[in-house]
């Protein structure tokens, strides 16, 4: 049987967190094949690109991701237009309904993630229909459950398990990531799988959420970013 590969699609690079090289080392230690290093500030993109080679040396595939937390829909569209061709994954933090609706409608967005406190109100039927049409991924971050009181942890687990049931019913792909910015918050793939299993109550879906789905998303986006790509299913094979 071929070895299963695992990915963590959300490892944040911040000023307060650990440096990217340490995050990559930790990913290797935990047995991850791919990590997506995400930036809150798109201006730091050039600094992070050099880290890809370092990841390759270590045997960890590093993808570049940008997380957008726009205050308005126009800001979201502007950022998407500027960044889509330069990063492999674009995630949008859907903190309010109007931003969530615009993100769900826009095909340039790959992943949407939510605040555990209002995930139930934002991920309603309207949002789910839009997400199902555009084929976006819904992401759950383990860090949302950490460093919080047991009451808040229980509430977040309840909200997410209800919301994810709706998501599964609509056939929308789910990704479970760590969302960590420090190595102490990173978790091994089997631990992410255990959380996914706790929320989804289905082994196969949980396994896909930490291995097949995130790897597929990065592979497809890399294909789209390659100069030979024309449209899905059509690419340049030879020129004369």
């Amino acid at each position: 049987m071929p070895k299963r590969h695992y990915a963590d699609l959300h490892v944040r690079v911040t000023d307060e967190g650990d440096p990217p090289r340490l995050l990559i080392k930790m990913a290797k230690h935990l047995g991850l094949s791919l990590i997506a290093l995400s930036l809150d500030d798109p201006h730091k993109l050039e600094d992070i690109r050099s880290i890809k080679g370092y990841g390759r040396e270590f045997g960890v595939d590093v993808a570049i991701r940008v997380d957008l937390k726009p205050s308005s829909t126009s800001e979201l569209k502007r950022c998407l237009g500027k960044l889509r061709r330069s990063v492999e994954v674009i995630g949008v933090c859907c903190h309010d309904t109007s931003v969530a609706r615009t993100a769900a409608r826009d095909r340039r967005v790959d992943v949407t993630f939510y605040d555990p406190e209002n995930v139930l109100s934002i991920l309603d039927e309207g949002q789910l229909s839009l997400l199902a049409e555009s084929g976006h991924y819904v992401e759950v971050n383990l860090v949302d459950f950490l460093h919080t009181s047991p009451e808040k942890q229980a509430k977040a687990l309840w909200n997410y398990s209800l919301a994810l049931k709706r998501v599964v019913r609509r056939g929308i792909p789910i990704v479970v990531s760590s969302g960590a910015s420090k190595i102490i918050d990173m978790r091994a793939p089997r631990e992410l799988y255990a959380l996914a299993f706790l929320l989804l109550d289905e082994k196969e879906l949980a396994r896909e959420a930490v291995s097949i789905k995130p790897l597929e998303l990065v592979r497809l986006n890399r294909e789209k970013l390659s100069p030979n790509f024309i449209q899905p299913g059509v690419r340049v094979v030879d020129e004369w």
């Binding site: 650990d18 090289r21 383990l142 942890q153 420090k182 918050d185 990173m186 959380l195 706790l198």
Partner: protein, 131 residues
């Protein structure tokens, strides 16, 4: 004869800048599991700290094989001890205590080398807040 309960021995590694004592870990685990699973949940998913190596930060937990995923998730969601950050990573799972002890000692040797490098780069909690 078929066994009523098939026990599993979970070999874990504690990732923390603190030097934890066995008693501290035992109390933290007990408290966390009680709050995470509740009394009823603990009766269905019992667990026991069998051993903990304070120097290498490697330990062994015993739990029923049916509870493995829930215990793994509970350990993944444990993030603080005495208000300091902490992570518990499950390294291996074994079916016998004898084998678990063997794996734990092998892992301790391997981790000592690998982990020193990671911990050296890890910010202490005080440094993290200052930044």
């Amino acid at each position: 004869m078929v066994k009523e309960v098939r026990w599993r021995y979970v070999i874990f590694h504690v990732h923390s800048p603190l030097n934890l004592r066995v008693e501290d870990l035992r109390v933290t685990l007990k408290k966390h599991m009680r709050s995470f699973l509740g009394t009823y949940g603990l009766s269905k998913n019992p667990l026991k700290l069998m051993a903990y190596d304070e120097v290498n930060k490697v330990g062994i937990l015993k739990c029923p094989h049916m509870s493995l995923e829930i215990i793994r998730a509970a350990l993944a969601l444990l993030s603080t001890i005495n208000d300091e950050p902490l992570a518990i990573h499950v390294m291996k799972v074994s079916g016998t205590y004898k084998k678990a002890k063997l794996i734990a000692s092998q892992l301790a040797r391997k981790l000592k080398f690998h982990w020193a490098e990671l911990e050296a780069g890890m910010k202490k909690p005080s440094q993290a807040t200052e930044a």
